[in-house]
């Protein structure tokens, strides 16, 4: 990484850039919230943020501390119940982008946030579970995943499918009747993976400045493929960095 910004900052900026102005974005907890709020503060002022806690069109001027931060309800266009968020807004396919994190993700973009090691009844590590992710992954028109790239997180096949990406590969989503198109990008702290249009396998199609293929291989649990000429992502602009750091400072201040 070059000087002046961290790889986490680069990841968040890249994720923010992936959001087009004016679209509706269902924001999962964690990194997605930081990235989508950064997008709204920079190039996408009309991005419609939807949180599963029941807010449509939240416009926080600081980073929400949780998906239930009071600032979301106070600034939202509409505040509704949790059943309504899922039934009336997510399920019918009204959401343009579902924005998810992951504990474990595989080469077909399937996400595991349930267990690691052992079996379901006797897990070695019990993760938090599904939350809203399975239906966000199923019903959003498309999905963007943001997750730090490590060998433990990027696995050949997830141990438990909490949220479906492309399942076993081509045709799985159609067979399951999932109406959204599935994950379009996995944005990491090394670059961006996108699904191969033929195999649905996630391929490294963009790298952040200074990231080598060897680093990517070391931090990926499958035999990751690269685009012939991976795009090199421009570093954060000073405007992006300033906006992101302002958010992070406000987060620290209110802790």
């Amino acid at each position: 990484m070059s000087e002046g910004y961290t790889s986490d900052e680069m990841m968040t900026v890249a994720a923010a850039r992936a959001l087009t102005d004016g679209i509706s974005c269902f924001v999962g907890i964690g990194l997605p919230s930081a990235a989508s709020n950064l997008a709204r503060a920079t190039h996408a002022p009309n991005l419609v943020l939807i949180y599963e806690s029941g807010t449509i069109g939240a416009k926080p001027d600081r980073l929400p501390l949780s998906i239930g931060d009071g600032i979301l309800a106070e600034t939202a266009d509409a505040v509704i119940t949790v059943p309504e968020i899922f039934n009336y807004w997510l399920q019918p396919g009204r959401i343009d982008v579902g924005f998810l994190g992951a504990a474990q993700i595989d080469k077909f973009g399937n996400i595991n946030t349930t267990i690691v090691g052992g079996d379901y009844a006797h897990p070695k590590v019990r993760l938090p579970g599904a939350g809203g992710a399975p239906e966000i992954a199923a019903s959003s028109k498309e999905v963007i995943v943001i997750v730090r790239q490590t060998k433990r997180a990027f696995v050949e096949r997830v141990e438990f499918i909490t949220s479906v990406g492309y399942g076993d590969g081509p045709g799985t989503r159609e067979k399951l009747g999932l109406r959204g198109k599935g994950p379009r990008q996995i944005i990491t702290d090394l670059g961006i993976l996108t699904p191969d249009p033929r195999t649905c396998e996630f391929t490294m199609t963009a790298l952040f400045e200074g990231v080598s293929r060897d680093t990517v291989r070391e931090r990926t649990g499958w035999d990751v493929q690269f685009a012939t000429e991976p795009e090199v992502i421009a570093p954060p602009t000073s405007h992006e960095l300033a906006a992101l750091r302002k958010f992070n400072a406000s987060e620290k201040a209110s802790e």
């Binding site: 239930g68 119940t81 599904a130 239906e135 199923a138």
Partner: protein
């Protein structure tokens, strides 16, 4: 018709060993004080139900109140794992914990079905996930008009729902506002309901985004100011973010957790409300 009583009496009357108990409050208005009272009264063999079993259920599970957990996301929001929950699932401490696991959409719809007097709800969900395989209360169902396969989830009808709200009037009519989560559905799905409130007022003034529960749909109302702490009650209190962070090291260690229980719940210096 709602009776206005102390929290201790409400829990003593409404929550019995072996009950299925739903404490709801989605990131806001979490009924922590009532949860602590359940621990204090040493209820056992509860089936705990909650979409987001965060710190409140970590405490109940660690204290040994629960036989089973029905949930969709069990974490300490913004902090990390629920260590007492993990210890129960991974190591059976202080006792084994049976789990019944859903997604948020599934849990929300299970409450909706329960509130609606239906045995199940239908959603587009779970297809292709491991949850559909490990959870019995998820089954496929076919549309009688289109032939399409969707998913059914079984209704939730807890013995008792416990929620926190901003206000009740002297008749026991309840009003809450801000993020309203799934509380109305949880109360209407349950046989009994306890509502703790910040304040009892002469008359409820209608508010934007308010959910109103008429007194005849509630069993007990108890005045418990700051009863959502460390969660918050919009218009009354702020979220105590440090509490959530401070919980992590306490919950990581059985000994420290037992000390916390003694100091903050059972002990003579604990705050009884």
């Amino acid at each position: 018709m709602a009776e206005i009583v102390s929290l201790a009496q409400a829990v003593a009357d409404a929550v019995h060993d072996g009950d299925a108990v739903a404490m709801e409050g989605f990131t806001h208005l979490i009924p922590f004080a009532a949860g602590h009272e359940v621990i204090r009264q040493r209820r056992r063999d509860l089936t705990l139900i909650r979409m987001t079993p965060d710190v409140i259920y970590d405490q109940l599970i660690g204290a040994g109140c629960a036989r089973k957990l029905i949930f969709s996301w069990g974490g300490n929001p913004g902090v990390g794992s629920l260590h007492r929950f993990r210890d129960a699932v991974e190591h059976g401490w202080p006792r084994p914990l049976e789990i019944e696991e859903h997604s948020h959409a599934g849990m929300a719809n299970r409450y909706v079905a329960g509130a609606s007097g239906l045995p199940f709800a239908v959603l587009r969900g779970y297809a292709g996930t491991g949850l559909a395989e490990v959870t019995d209360t998820i089954k496929p169902i076919t549309c009688p008009f289109t032939g399409e396969t969707l998913m059914a989830v079984q209704a939730l009808n807890p013995d008792v729902a416990i929620i926190h709200a901003q206000q009740a009037d002297r008749h026991g009519n309840v009003q809450l506002w801000g993020l309203a989560g799934v509380q109305k559905e949880a109360v209407l799905a349950s046989r009994r309901a306890i509502v703790t409130v910040e304040e009892i007022v002469d008359e409820l003034q209608p508010r934007p985004t308010a959910v109103v529960l008429p007194a005849w749909a509630v069993s007990y109302v108890a005045r418990v100011p700051n009863g959502a702490h460390p969660s918050y009650a919009s218009g009354y209190t702020e979220r105590d973010n440090q509490y959530y962070q401070a919980w992590d090291p306490i919950a990581r260690d059985r000994q420290r957790f037992s000390g916390w229980l003694e100091d903050h719940i059972y002990g003579e210096t604990a705050v009884h409300r």
